[in-house]
C-alpha cells in the first residue's frame, strides 16, 4: 500500500469514527440554536471527503510506490519510541509518590541509558545534574510547588 492510500484510509476511518461520536453527543433543549453537533458534522465531512479523494487519486495514479513503516528494518527506532512512552507514562504515575527529584533522576537515567547506550557514568552525571538543577531552579528559586515524596523529611530546602 502506498503512503497516500494509507493516509486516505486512516482519514476515512478516523472521520467515520468521529461521525459516530458526533451522533452520540447529547443535545439539550436549552442549547443554542445551532447546537453542539453542527461543527463536528462539518469537520467529519471534510476529513472523510479528503480521505476518499486521496484514496481515489492514489488508485488512479500510475506511480504507486509501496510504503513501509519500517517496524522490522528500523526496529531500534520503534523500540526506543515504545520505551520512551512507557518510561514517560510511568514517570507521571510515580511522580507524586517518589517525589520530583527521585522520579526525574530515574526518568533521565532510563531515557539516557536507552539513547546513550553503555555509558553509565555519563548517564548518571546527566540524570543527577538535570534533576538537581531543575529542582533547585523551579522548586527553590522560583518557588514552584513540586512533590517531595520520599525525600520530604530529608530535604534542607
Amino acid at each position: 500500500m502506498t503512503k497516500n492510500l494509507q493516509s486516505g484510509i486512516l482519514a476515512v476511518v478516523i472521520g467515520l469514527a468521529y461521525l459516530v461520536g458526533t451522533f452520540n453527543i447529547p443535545v439539550f433543549d436549552a442549547a443554542d440554536e445551532v447546537g453542539p453537533r453542527a461543527f463536528p458534522y462539518l469537520i467529519a465531512a471534510i476529513v472523510i471527503i479528503c480521505g476518499a479523494a486521496l484514496i481515489v487519486n492514489d488508485l488512479r495514479s500510475s506511480e504507486r510506490k509501496p510504503f513501509s513503516w519500517g517496524f522490522a528494518a528500523n526496529s531500534g527506532v520503534w523500540l526506543r519510541i515504545l520505551a520512551t512512552i512507557v518510561i514517560g507514562i510511568t514517570f507521571g504515575l510515580v511522580l507524586d509518590s517518589l517525589g520530583y527529584l527521585i522520579a526525574m533522576f530515574l526518568f533521565m537515567l532510563l531515557v539516557s541509558s536507552m539513547i546513550n547506550v553503555g555509558r553509565l557514568k555519563q548517564n548518571l552525571i546527566i540524570a543527577v545534574t538535570f534533576s538537581l538543577v531543575s529542582f533547585i531552579a523551579f522548586a527553590v528559586i522560583l518557588k514552584l510547588s513540586l512533590p517531595r515524596g520520599l525525600l520530604s523529611g530529608f530535604l534542607p530546602f
Binding site: S7, V77, I89
Partner: protein
Amino acid sequence: MDAIFHNLMLGLDVALTPLNIMWVFIGGLLGTVIGMLPGLGPATGVAVLIPITYGMNPGTALITMCAVYYGAMFGGSRASIMINTPGDASAIVTCFDGYPMAKSGRAGTALAVSAIASFVGGMIGMIGLIFLTEPVASFALKFGPAEKFSLMLFALTATITLSEGSILKGFIAMGLGFMMSTIGMDAQSGSDRFLMGIEDLRDGIDFLVIMIGFYAVTEVFKNFGDLEKQYDVDAKSIGKVWLKWSEFKESFMPMLRNSPLGFLVGVLPGAGGTIATFLSYAIEKSVSKKPEEFGKGAIAGIAGPEASNNACSCGALVPLLTLGIPGSGTTAVMLGALMMLGVRPGPVLFEQHPEVAWGVIASMLVGNVVLLLINLPLAVPLVQLLKIPQRIMLPLVLGMGFMGTYFLNYSSFDFILVSVSALGGFMLSKLSIPIPPLVLALILGGMTEQSYRNALTIANGSAGIFVEKPISLTFLVMAVVSLIYALRKHKKSA
C-alpha cells in the same frame, strides 16, 4: 503618529527595567542555543523553554518568551552555516552559501553577515510592526462572528495551500486539529463531546501539551535513527566574526531590499520564513552582477534571505498580536505560550491592555539589539555547542519536554497525552501529513466553532450571513483564490 510614539514609550517603560533586560538576555541566549541545535529549530526551542517563565510575573514572563522566540530565529541559521544542517525550513537557504563559505575558511564572515542581516531585517520588520499593528487592530475590532469565522478559514486555507506537499493531506491535518479541539465539554451547550469514557478530557485538551508532544518529543523520535551522529566544528577555522567594509557594502543593499519583502510575506497568514527566504534568494541571484557565485559562498545569498527571515518573523507577529492568528508552527507555539501567561492576543488586547501589547513589541526591539550583541562576540563559543552529540542532547530535550508538560497542569494524565501526541506526530510525519495545519486548527478550533455558531444564531440558521457581510465575503474569496492558485500550481508541477 503621536499615539504610536506614546504607545512605544509605554512599551519601552515596561521592557527597559534591569530585571527585564536581564531576562531578555537569558531568554535570547537560551533561544539561540536551542534554535541552533541541529534538527530541532525554533518551534522546539520555544516549546521546551516555556517552563523557564513559571513563577515570573506576567510582564517579565512575556518578555522572556519573546526573547526566546527571537533568539531561536537568530540561532536557526548558525547550524546551517557551520554544519549544513538547518534548524528549520526557513534556515535551508542559508546553507546554500553559508556552508560553502564556512568550508572555505570564511565561517566568521558568514556568521557575521547572518547576525547583522538578521538584526537589520528585525529592525526594519519592527518598524513595519509598530506602524501596522494599531490600524489592523482597530480594523479588526469591527469584526463580528461571521468575519472572524471567514478570517480563520482563510488563515487555515492559506497555511495549507502555501505550504509544500499535498493539499488534501493539509486539509486532513486541519480536520484532525479541529477534531481534537472539539473534545471536552461544549462551552455553549454544556454537552460532553468525544470523552471516550475518560473524565480527564472533560476540560478539553491543553494544546500546549500537544505542542510539546509534536515539537519536542516527536523531534526526538525522528532523531532516534541517527544517534551516533556528531558534528565537527573547528573553532580555529572560524576566524574573526566581523565584516570588512567591502563585505558590509556587498551585503547592505540585499538587506535593505529584502527586509520589507520578508515583512510583507510574514504578515500573510500561512506564508512563513520558508517562502520569504527562498523568494529573497531568487531575487538576489537575479539582480546580482555575479550570479555564478551563488551556491559557492555569495555574501548576498546569506544577507538577503537572513534579513528577509527575521523581518518575516516580525511580520508574522502582526496577525498573531492583532488578530490572535498564528501563521506557522513557531508562532503557534508562541501563541500557546502567551495564552498560558494569561494574554489573549487579538484586537481587544491593544484596546484594554496596551502596556502588555506594546511591552511585547518594545521587548522585541530591545531583544533585537541584545541578540546582535550575543551573536557577534559570542558566536564562536556558541557554535561549539553544535559539537554536543545527539545521544547526550536528545535525553535533555526529552527531560525538558516532560518536565514542561508536568509544570503546565501538574496532571499525570498529561504524560499520556504528550506521549500519544508524540507518537501521532511521528506517524503523521512518516505519512507526510503536515503538522502546522493541525496545530493551528487545534488552537483556533474553539474560536472558529464559536464564531460559526454565533454567526448562524444571529442569522437564524442561515449560512448566507458569511457571504452577505462584505468583509467576510472578501476573506472567503481570498480563501477560494488561494485554493485555486495552489491547485493550478500542483497541476502544473504534476
